[in-house]
């Protein structure tokens, strides 16, 4: 259609008009091809080299990946990601869904309450991490507060406990992101046809049952979007670890994003750092590809 109208009159000015859209898009195309895909390829190449402090292009085959898999810290980081990601996603979803369903019951001041649930999302993970590091401070934070309030035997020293420190990250991340999940599900609930609920009520179904059996299943797309976003946040989590634990004690709360940063930029292990970045990309793709596939398929069926 575009070309048809433009070809009606083919003066030089019109020719320019025809090229303008392409010209306008050209810088972005360059940026995307070079800055996105070219750089990914570059990192991919680096992961097959012996690069340490400076990039060298001496072929190392899969040696960097082999070193990565031999590295205990990488395994800790990966296992932490599974634990952190799993808990973070599950708890955020549960809290988000529950709050959304409860807020959907014609609550007065709903807008105000919603605002209070969502404000952490506006904060930097560094601010969130700083706040929770203080709240979870053994001896001075909640630890002391609950003892002061009369719970004599209360102890909360997870932040310095290598076996429990990951839960601290989970708490802070859930605090930040669960309100967002609430907002997404609430928007979804508002799109549910009330007559479906009414019909089910006439059939004598109880309200919780209606939500569980009818309403929530119809929000599958919202569920998958949330899952997608939360896992994306989890895999990219770097700031939160940096601010709260810096990966410690030792490297017990390391995550792949943190691992990549410290090996690439502090320890001069550019090749291995690149290999870890490529594996992170692989993790994102492993989630993204099935998601996009099902999105496209459902669109075609719709």
């Amino acid at each position: 259609m575009t070309t048809a109208t433009a070809q009606l009159r083919a003066s030089p000015l019109d020719a320019l008009q025809r090229w303008l859209p392409k010209l306008v898009l050209a810088p972005s195309m360059f940026i995307v091809l070079v800055g996105f895909y070219g750089y990914i390829l570059w990192t991919f190449v680096l992961s097959f080299t012996t690069s340490t402090f400076l990039p060298t292009y001496k072929w190392a085959g899969l040696a960097q990946y082999a070193r990565l898999f031999d590295n205990d810290r990488w395994w800790v980081a990966s296992k932490n990601l599974v634990l952190f990601g799993g808990l973070f996603i599950a708890i955020s979803l549960v809290i988000g869904v529950v709050l959304a369903v409860l807020l959907d019951q014609r609550i007065r001041r709903e807008g105000f309450i919603r605002t209070l649930y969502l404000y952490p999302m506006a904060l930097s993970m560094i601010v969130t991490g700083t706040a929770w590091k203080w709240l979870l401070n053994p001896g001075m934070g909640l630890d002391k507060l609950l003892r002061d309030w009369g719970w004599e035997g209360f102890r909360l020293d997870w932040l310095i406990d290598p076996d429990r420190v990951v839960y601290c990250l989970v708490i802070a991340a859930v605090w930040q992101a669960s309100g967002f999940i609430m907002a997404m599900f609430l928007a979804g609930l508002r799109g549910v046809d009330p007559s479906i609920i009414r019909a089910a009520q006439i059939d004598g179904a109880s309200l919780p049952r209606i939500y569980w059996r009818v309403v929530l299943p119809s929000l599958r797309p919202v569920f998958f979007s949330s899952l997608m976003i939360l896992s994306h946040i989890a895999i990219k989590s770097f700031d939160l670890v940096a601010a709260m634990t810096a990966g410690g004690p030792g490297y017990s709360s390391d995550l792949p994003a943190m691992f990549m940063y410290s090996f690439t930029f502090s320890r001069g292990q550019m090749g291995m750092g690149s290999a870890s970045a490529i594996l992170m990309l692989g993790a994102i793709l492993a989630i993204l590809v099935p998601y996009l596939y099902s999105e496209l398929r459902s669109k075609r069926h719709a």
């Binding site: 996105f36 529950v98 209070l116 709240l135 002391k144 009330p194 994102i284």
Partner: protein, 281 residues
């Protein structure tokens, strides 16, 4: 719009619902309250009291100290955020305009390639980007960070505008084109005036993203060019000397206030950006 269930609920369950909602409000607010209380206490007060104890004396000393430590970095963040937000939004608007109303062979493919940028783990581009900044002489400068934020913000800004413009009827643009209006005339006279909501969404999204960024800040800047998030992290995680939690909390508040303010003033657009970016991206 609302589910018509209010009457169906017996009142004990409504009380329970309100109780749960209220409890959640308290839990979401506690960290903010603790930060504020701590920031106005003296260090002695912090060690004798607890998280939620009222300050024995309300003092601004923590805020004064925090500001004198981080103010330079606060301005860095402004110098980085303002141009990066404006430039990436402007380019996103033009891109979205082309991708919705001036499609050409390959433009859809390009849009697909660009969308992947919304998911790109930045770890895969950090090294090449830092080599490039070095070559351009922009390593450890705020200008370099502006460039990086513009480049990696394009995916979202283009997505916002493209999805918004796709819903504008073609006829409008076609008619203008038949009247002889050109590419930029149509953009300026017809498209831009109706873009206010999506411009707001995009500005707020980009502002929040860039102000809150830590990864690019910590990798691409050093010393005097660091943004506030990096400075805050440095302040909180240095182990030299006695910890002054009042200063830490005041600094965290200073780093968080700009985005909180935007959220309070323009929350509607913030939420819309989150869900738009989320559902599609």
């Amino acid at each position: 719009m609302h589910s018509p269930l209010e009457k169906a609920l017996p009142s004990p369950s409504r009380i329970a619902i309100h109780a749960v909602l209220l409890l959640a409000v308290v839990l979401y607010l506690v960290p903010l309250v603790v930060m504020l209380l701590t920031s106005f206490k003296t260090p002695e007060d912090i060690s004798t009291g607890n998280l939620l104890s009222w300050p024995a004396v309300i003092t601004g000393i923590g805020w004064v100290k925090a500001w004198s430590t981080v103010s330079g970095y606060f301005w860095n963040s402004i110098m980085i955020t303002v141009p990066a937000v404006l430039i990436s939004t402007a380019i996103g608007a033009l891109n979205g305009y082309v991708l919705s109303m001036w499609r050409f062979r390959g433009s859809q493919l390009f849009f697909g390639l660009l969308l992947f940028g919304c998911f790109l783990p930045f770890q895969t581009v950090l090294l090449p980007a830092s080599f490039t900044l070095g070559k351009l002489g922009l390593a450890s400068t705020t200008t370099g960070l502006v460039l990086v934020h513009v480049v990696y913000g394009l995916a979202f800004t283009t997505l916002f505008f493209r999805n918004f413009y796709v819903s504008i009827p073609d006829a409008l643009v076609k008619a203008a084109r038949l009247d002889g209006a050109g590419f930029f005339t149509i953009f300026r006279r017809i498209i831009l005036p109706m873009s206010t909501p999506i411009i707001m969404v995009c500005l707020i999204w980009q502002f929040t993203q860039i102000w809150n960024d830590f990864l690019f800040g910590v990798v691409f800047s050093s010393g005097d060019s660091q943004p506030i998030t990096v400075a805050l992290n440095n302040l909180v995680n240095t182990s030299t000397g006695a910890k002054e939690y009042n200063v830490d909390m005041a600094a965290a508040m200073i780093a968080g206030l700009p985005t909180l303010l935007v959220y309070v003033v323009a929350g509607k657009y913030f939420v819309r950006g989150l869900t738009a970016g989320a559902v599609k991206g």
